[in-house]
């Protein structure tokens, strides 16, 4: 038997992002952009892996397809943000995505919760998608062109996620008994952590001064709260928590046990063989 032809090795994350010039970016702005990109990348990356936990076991075949597709979209988005971050900081996207310890990830605490049940996944995703759409809207006129370009593209894809989640939120809310009870329970559990998507960033003032972000993050949180609360109150569902986004919404001394487990799953291949290529 002849040895099978060796496939060309490729990195886990393909460097598909066009190269951009980072020389003109001031160090303070570079640091602030890196922080913003890491939070956005980690959010999409972690959510994509939670979504993929439904592959094969979703309650309906159509949802098996949908959640697998959502997972692929989110990990695709994370890939571009990690690539952009790697170019900006002269590092490696694979290393950032897979090479960190669990406590170094900066995803919002909302995404620290496990997949749980179907109602919980819908509630969490609806909260995240509504928040993410407000965050992306705040970046559409970003002065940092590579970011603005990808945001324009990503927003067109994310509207399908939002549409799908909103249809499910209404479907569960409209069925008294177990569906609605579970949805209410999930929203009650998540009502304060939902705000963690808008946890303040150290470089926020720099991002606003440079025209990357169009408003303080607390203002984005208010925009989100008014949109999301409108829908929740229309459906008579548990309200969001009051108050400001938590200061430690993205950096916590201890990530949840669930996230530690997820981390061990998505880093398995990487940890089996250092520097492995796909």
């Amino acid at each position: 038997m002849t040895e099978p032809a060796r496939l060309p090795t490729r990195q886990l994350l393909q460097p598909d992002l066009p190269a951009f010039d980072t020389r003109g970016v001031e160090p303070a702005l570079r640091e602030a952009l890196a922080e913003l990109l890491l939070t956005m990348a980690d959010d999409e990356f972690v959510l994509g892996f939670w979504d993929s936990e439904w592959t094969g076991i979703a309650p309906l075949l159509e949802e098996d397809v949908a959640f697998s597709s959502l997972a692929q979209d989110e990990i695709g988005h994370a890939r571009v943000w990690y690539e952009m971050l790697a170019q900006l900081t002269g590092s490696d996207a694979d290393e950032i995505a897979f090479g960190r310890q669990a406590e170094e990830y900066r995803h919002a605490r909302l995404l620290d919760h496990p997949r749980t049940d179907w109602a919980f996944s819908i509630a969490r995703r609806w909260l995240y998608d509504t928040a993410d759409s407000v965050r992306l809207a705040g970046l559409t006129r970003s002065s940092f062109a590579p970011l603005a370009e990808v945001v324009a593209k990503v927003r067109r894809e994310e509207r399908y996620h939002l549409l799908h989640m909103d249809a499910w939120l209404r479907r569960l809310a409209g069925h008294p008994g177990e569906p609605r009870d579970r949805l209410e329970g999930a929203l009650t559990t998540l009502r304060s952590d939902a705000l963690s998507v808008f946890a303040p960033l150290d470089g926020e003032a720099t991002l606003i001064a440079a025209g990357v972000l169009d408003a303080p993050i607390a203002e984005l949180a208010d925009r989100w709260r008014s949109v999301a609360s409108g829908v929740l109150s229309e459906l008579g569902l548990p309200a969001l928590a009051e108050g400001l986004p938590p200061l430690d919404g993205r950096s916590r001394a201890e990530p949840s046990e669930s996230f530690r487990w997820l981390w061990s799953e998505f880093t398995t291949v990487r940890r089996l063989e250092e520097g492995v290529t796909w």
Partner: protein
């Protein structure tokens, strides 16, 4: 930059050759008709082609990039195929020929009358059934077998079909 008299014939030849390259997920439509080729530029002995991803996470992009490189080998001393987000790919970029071929292969082309609504809850317009032309169709799943496709059902000819998503 406008192409010079000398480079224009080469550019035309490149565009013609790119009609032979297909999206592996929709093999009946060329990358040109899908609007994926953003730019073809000849500068001296260098040929640069820019591809626009239909979806950010599209796994077929790398295959298309390789196919384009292979098809264009020999067209210039240096052939470079790059990916760009500078102009976002939108479903409006699919040509009339691309839409015709999509329909022919059983895909509804993306709707053209949807505008650029980024409200919280945009409404997706109905899809025309590619088999019987009926508008009496329902969205079965916004997500389909690939990132760029949704699943619909035609109540008139009772056929499930896919629509190329509007993005």
């Amino acid at each position: 930059m406008t192409p010079t008299q000398a480079t224009r014939p080469l550019e035309s030849a490149v565009w013609a050759a790119l009609h032979d390259v297909h999206d592996p997920e929709i093999p009946t439509v060329s990358v040109v008709d899908l609007g994926i080729v953003g730019d073809v530029r000849v500068e001296g002995s260098r040929l640069r082609v820019e591809l626009l991803p239909t979806f950010v996470g599209c796994p077929a992009l790398e295959v298309m990039r390789t196919s384009v490189e292979e098809r264009l080998r020999g067209f210039a001393a240096k052939v470079e195929v790059a990916v760009s987000f500078a102009q976002p790919w939108t479903s409006e970029r699919i040509t009339a020929e691309g839409r015709r071929r999509l329909r022919q292969s059983g895909f509804a082309p993306p709707p053209q009358d949807a505008g650029d609504d980024h409200g919280l809850l945009p409404q997706l317009p109905a899809a025309d059934c590619p088999y019987c032309g009926s508008r009496n169709t329902t969205l079965e799943n916004a997500f389909g077998p690939t990132l760029c496709r949704s699943i619909y059902y035609c109540a008139d000819c009772r056929q499930p079909f896919e629509q190329f998503k509007m993005v």
